[in-house]
């Protein structure tokens, strides 16, 4: 949005903020009452057939009665449609006023006035503009060419005509496919229609404001935890546990009690782990600030958790984990997010993005899960762009297989200001230039002790022999020939040590996220110092 648009939005917001919609609401109620009166007239006309009256007089009366009835029905339908259009205008105007209140609060807290015109406010103003045009057009249509002025367009029965006219005004339109469309759709929904949307839908829609998604997903989490606890405490499990404990503890020799207990524990382990993870997730979310941006408790599960107020932050990092990550790992990812957010500085929000179905060890040699994940990651970041209050500096950090997800997401369209590839097995790109990220802002690092480098050994060996390199997901992003920017990762060890507290790696990740200069690395070898 350029400054002219922003100035226009400021002016429009101020205008709408000054309108008093109570008078319009009163007119809405008056028009509805009037429409009911006209319906009463229709009923009176229908009943006005004296018994036994027949002949040409009755026929003439009946024909005239039919004409008047149609006119009255059309007039009542027009009034109903006008009242609906005006009601929609009130709702839309109230949304603008609510957003203005938020923007003014931001202004008080030091945010620049033009910046305070948030994306939601712009969309609310746009939606109000549409509602204004629609209401004005409808009023002109039903009044200027009204039923009693001779235009024969109002011959439909009352119910269907009112429905047709009102349909475009009040009925919630289908959910758009793209986040920007979703944001506009959401902004234009009346409050009661928003509340009526299924939580599972709202919670998963990129483009819906984070707070609304958070509320919906917390509900989904509570339900999932309840279901998991019930499953764990299932009578069958209890019965099995009790019976086997009795056998193991009393009847069988002590030597067998150990293996029997292990068997029971193993049977119960998945359910126990799920309950524990969900409880921990719920506990983590009890801390103020954290937002549950996506949640799905089915199967391996998905969860996207922001460490703070996602839409309000100007510094956001999205961390995409690697293979075998599942719902049980999310509490650990949340801790990792908090560590990184602290390293990035005040105001930074880090998102643990398990928004894709991470592959198992067997699936990891294929890119199918990464391609699906990349599509979803692209949607997620596009959603951030439209729900953020102000321009955000967005960094996407992939780890291991997560770098393939992030790399693929950055192939065709700009996704982030910075892209960090940690311990990458390749991103299906020959060089950093193939990624749609500003030059110098594709970062790569791999510890010397990270076993992931074995992925590239066959290719390097054959390459030295002058043979085609059989890379699984393309060449090594940490190699100097790839063209990514390197940074020091001292203190990071193995495959999962990049977020270790006190390490150069964490410090530099925080610098990248916050846009500060990183500490240098050994540019001669292209290898980061680990």
């Amino acid at each position: 949005v350029n400054s002219a648009d922003t100035q226009h939005a400021v002016v429009a917001a101020a205008e709408v903020a000054g309108l008093d919609f109570r008078a319009v609401e009163l007119l809405v109620s008056r028009l509805r009452a009037l429409a009911e009166l006209l319906c009463d007239l229709v009923a009176a006309v229908i009943r006005a057939v004296p018994a036994g009256w027949s002949g040409p007089g009755e026929q003439a009366f009946d024909a005239a009665r039919g004409r008047v009835r149609a006119q009255l029905e059309a007039q009542a339908g027009a009034l109903q449609a006008a009242s609906l259009a005006l009601s929609a205008l009130c709702t839309s105007g109230s949304s603008v006023q609510a957003e203005v209140t938020v923007a003014r609060r931001l202004e008080v807290t030091g945010v620049d006035a033009p910046e305070a015109i948030s994306t939601q406010l712009r969309m609310a103003i746009t939606a109000f503009g549409y509602a204004d045009q629609r209401a004005a057009g409808l009023l002109l249509d039903v009044l200027a060419g009204g039923p009693l002025t001779g235009r024969p367009k109002l011959g439909l029965p009352l119910s269907s005509r009112a429905g047709d006219l009102a349909g475009g005004v009040m009925a919630a339109p289908a959910v758009p496919a793209e986040p920007a469309g979703v944001a506009l759709w959401w902004a234009g929904l009346p409050a009661q229609t928003r509340a009526a949307q299924p939580a599972a839908l709202v919670g998963s829609l990129d483009g819906v404001p984070a707070r609304a998604r958070d509320a919906a997903n917390r509900l989904a989490l509570a339900i999932a935890l309840h279901d998991a606890e019930r499953r764990y405490a299932d009578e069958g499990f209890h019965g099995l546990t009790h019976a086997l404990s009795m056998i193991a503890g009393s009847l069988l020799p002590p030597l067998l009690s150990g293996p029997a207990s292990d068997l029971i524990d193993r049977a119960l382990e998945p359910a126990r782990r799920r309950v524990a993870a969900l409880r921990e997730l719920a506990d983590d979310l009890a801390h103020p600030g954290a937002e549950l941006i996506e949640f799905d408790g089915r199967g391996d599960g998905r969860a996207v958790v922001a460490s703070g107020d996602l839409d309000a932050s100007r510094t956001v990092a999205v961390v995409v984990p690697g293979m075998t990550t599942e719902l049980e790992d999310v509490p650990r990812l949340i801790d990792q997010s908090a560590t990184l957010a602290h390293a990035a500085g005040a105001g930074a929000v880090v998102v643990a993005w398990l928004g894709y179905d991470a592959p198992s060890v067997i699936q990891v040699v294929h890119d199918a899960k990464a391609k699906t994940g990349a599509r979803d990651l692209r949607r997620f970041t596009a959603g951030l762009r439209v729900t953020a209050v102000a321009r955000q500096h967005l960094t996407v950090i992939g780890h291991s297989y997560g770098t393939l997800v992030a790399g693929l997401a950055a192939h065709d369209a700009p996704m982030a200001d910075d892209l960090v590839l940690l311990a990458s097995p390749g991103v299906e790109a020959a060089s950093a230039r193939e990624l749609d990220v500003p030059a110098g802002h594709v970062w790569a690092a791999r510890a010397t002790t990270d076993p992931i480098q074995a992925v590239f050994w066959p290719g390097k060996l054959l390459g030295k022999l002058g043979l085609p390199a059989p890379y699984v997901f393309g060449p090594d992003p940490a190699a100097s020939t790839f063209g990514a920017t390197h940074f020091a990762i001292g203190g990071a060890h193995g495959h999962s040590g990049y977020f270790t507290e006190g390490s150069q790696s964490l410090d530099n990740l925080g610098r990248i996220v916050s846009g500060r200069p990183t500490l240098p690395t050994d540019q001669q070898t292209g290898e980061a110092r680990g």
């Binding site: 008056r30 009037l34 009204g146 009693l148």
Partner: protein
């Protein structure tokens, strides 16, 4: 002028009674119009500067005219029935002979 065939086919009192609810309903509509006018005008002022506000301001006379026409039409129907009842009643009493029979 009512055709002779109608004279014996209907009870004039029923015709008269059938017209009364129409007149009453139309009267209720007429009484409601000033309140709608006031609300319409207030909404037009409240939405001043917006498209809808402009349309509301310009279309108040149209609305009044349309709805008044509605009421008049229905009232007219009631009056037609009442007049018909009077004509039939007079015909039955012999005080009035339809033109066709003269």
């Amino acid at each position: 002028v009512l055709p002779p065939s109608a004279v014996l086919a209907v009870d004039p009192l029923q015709l008269f009674l059938a017209g009364r609810p129409l007149v009453e309903a139309a009267g209720t509509l007429r009484h409601a119009l000033p309140a709608v006018d006031a609300a319409w005008l207030a909404a037009a002022q409240a939405l001043r500067g917006q498209l809808t506000g402009d349309v509301l301001a310009r279309s108040l006379p149209t609305l009044r005219r349309e709805l008044t026409a509605c009421a008049e039409e229905v009232e007219g129907f009631g009056e037609v029935l009442a007049k018909a009842a009077g004509v039939y009643s007079a015909a039955e009493s012999g005080a009035f002979v339809p033109a066709a029979r003269r």
